[in-house]
Amino acid sequence: MSRLCGGVRFSSCTPKVCIVGSGPAGFYTAQHLLKTHQNVHVDIYERLPVPFGLVRFGVAPDHPEVKNVINTFTQTAKHSRCRFYGNVNVGKDVSVGELKQAYHAVVLSYGAEGNRSMGVPGEGLAGVYSAKDFVGWYNGHPSCREVFTLNPDLNCETAVILGQGNVALDVARVLLSPIDILKKTDITQPALEALVRSQIRRVLIVGRRGPVQVACTIKELREMVNLPGTKSEMVEADFDGVTEALKDLPRPRKRLTELLLKTALDTPGDKEQQRRHQASRTWGFRFFRSPSEVLADADGNKTVGIRLAVTRLEGSGEGARAVLTGEVEDVTCGLVISSIGYKSHPIDPSVPFDTRRAVIPNTMGRVKQATGLYCSGWLKTGPTGVIATTMNNSFDTARSLVEDMESEALDLSSVKTGSEVISALLEERGVKSVSFSDWEKIDSVEMSRGEASGKPREKILTVEEMIQVART
């Protein structure tokens, strides 16, 4: 279809799209765009010098197969119509407005870099961390080095995790895994060393509601149950009525609940008795408890415990609500990790943002009250779901975008110079971007350093060093 471009009849101007964020959302959106539109050019901007977002910084080190998606992202990055620009902070080095001028469409896929806070007194004490920061720390996120001025203080016997989703279980598993397992993963060296010195022997995973509402999934629960050197310790009374509820549950929830029941209540056979006897570390779920205060030592600096409000359930199943009973229970602990959700932040005042839900208001990925602006991933739907969820979410956004390109809902009539303009701006501002082949140098250095210690890679932990390697 030909179109008027600058007064002369050309065939359609080459559509230029840029994507902000190079995690699964960014890459899957790019992938789908490139596949379904034969002319579109896609530029991916990423704040860090390294790509892949939570695949690199969120997925647990002992889940390497989940990171296989990096292979398909690498293929996308190397597509002839795709370019990766790392070390570019959108919102600081370049504005969304400038991107909108340079491109026909901008897709925001920068995810959720913040976390929900518990909103309780003592949350700021030493020894209290968000799961986002804890995970970021053991996965080598450059911004998480600063959060722990020293490594987190693991010199206590008990750690309490608030939240019972898969992230909470990842944290528990990393805290209690035998070092022999962890040392063969891509966990960072400082984290590994801290865990070697760790005194933590007991991890409680606390949730407001009951066993039937637990948010983790069965694979992760099974990993805890089978974790070498550990045994579980739960409160039998928490499981009252659960066996009766089983028959009405759909298969996935039923299997999960059955495993939980078995772990909590079954009388162990001889072999299992022996295994438990030899276990030096314990973990357990605690239900019907909600954080009400983190308790400090006499000097008021360090965490010595957490006060938990006792709840009861109103209703049943997924919709059951936790209601306070007025009772409290204090648990001695030196480490508190709140794993109650990540949270997105607004990037630019010109971009609509729903502060209550912490997402960008959109319909099928099209940002509301904006043209040429789209979103995908957690920024679009909220911070839950695994990579495959984000994949579908991103495909949907890409579909909306392609639809808009083909229906002319998106104005493709003017030539856009895309990265030419943006690169010039960045250069003026002294910002040097990192290309995908620069990343491959970083990748290669990390892998060869890892080889020396029997790890798949030894992650580079600072932006400065990443850039240094990128420039070699």
């Binding site: 197969e65 099974r222 996935p252 299997r255 909220g382 839950t384 695994v386 495959a388 994949m391």
Partner: protein
């Protein structure tokens, strides 16, 4: 965790070779019919011992997002649905596979993960349907949660 590809031999879901080696002639190929999300029938062939994911990849069948974790039981995107008679011939499901299958969108009683199904001559002519929208259900239904 071992990738299914790293386990030697016939790559059966039990981790050792159950498939005797056939000479690689085309008359030993197994025919599989896939029904894609548009309802179209796509016929492909694979060697005995290939998984259904292998067939999809080797034959470049274009199912969006299929096999994201590359056959390592870390996702549910290779979810396929079978007819009863075929399903019964597919062999036992491990807990590991069930755990991931449980997360598949549109799970049925005759669902399996394609990366765990190995071809054999007895499955020649089988039909496998690619279900709608391969979304893991590990997400909150309430987007604001």
């Amino acid at each position: 965790m071992l990738s299914r590809r790293e386990v030697g031999g016939g790559r059966s879901s039990l981790g050792f070779s159950l498939i005797p080696s056939f000479p690689q002639g085309s008359n030993n190929k197994v025919t599989v019919h896939f029904i894609n999300r548009d309802g179209d029938k796509i016929t492909a062939k694979g060697a005995p011992g290939d998984t259904l994911l292998d067939v999809v990849l080797n034959e470049d069948l274009d199912f969006d997002g299929f096999g994201a974790c590359e056959g390592t039981l870390a996702c549910s995107t290779c979810h396929l649905i079978f007819e009863d008679e075929v399903f019964k011939k597919l062999g036992p499901v491990t807990d590991e596979e069930m755990d991931m299958l449980d997360l598949a969108y549109g799970l049925t009683d005759t669902s399996r993960l394609g990366c765990q199904i190995c071809l054999s001559k007895s499955l020649d002519g089988m039909v496998a349907r690619v279900p709608e929208s391969v979304t893991d259900i590990r997400q909150s239904k309430d987007e604001s949660a």
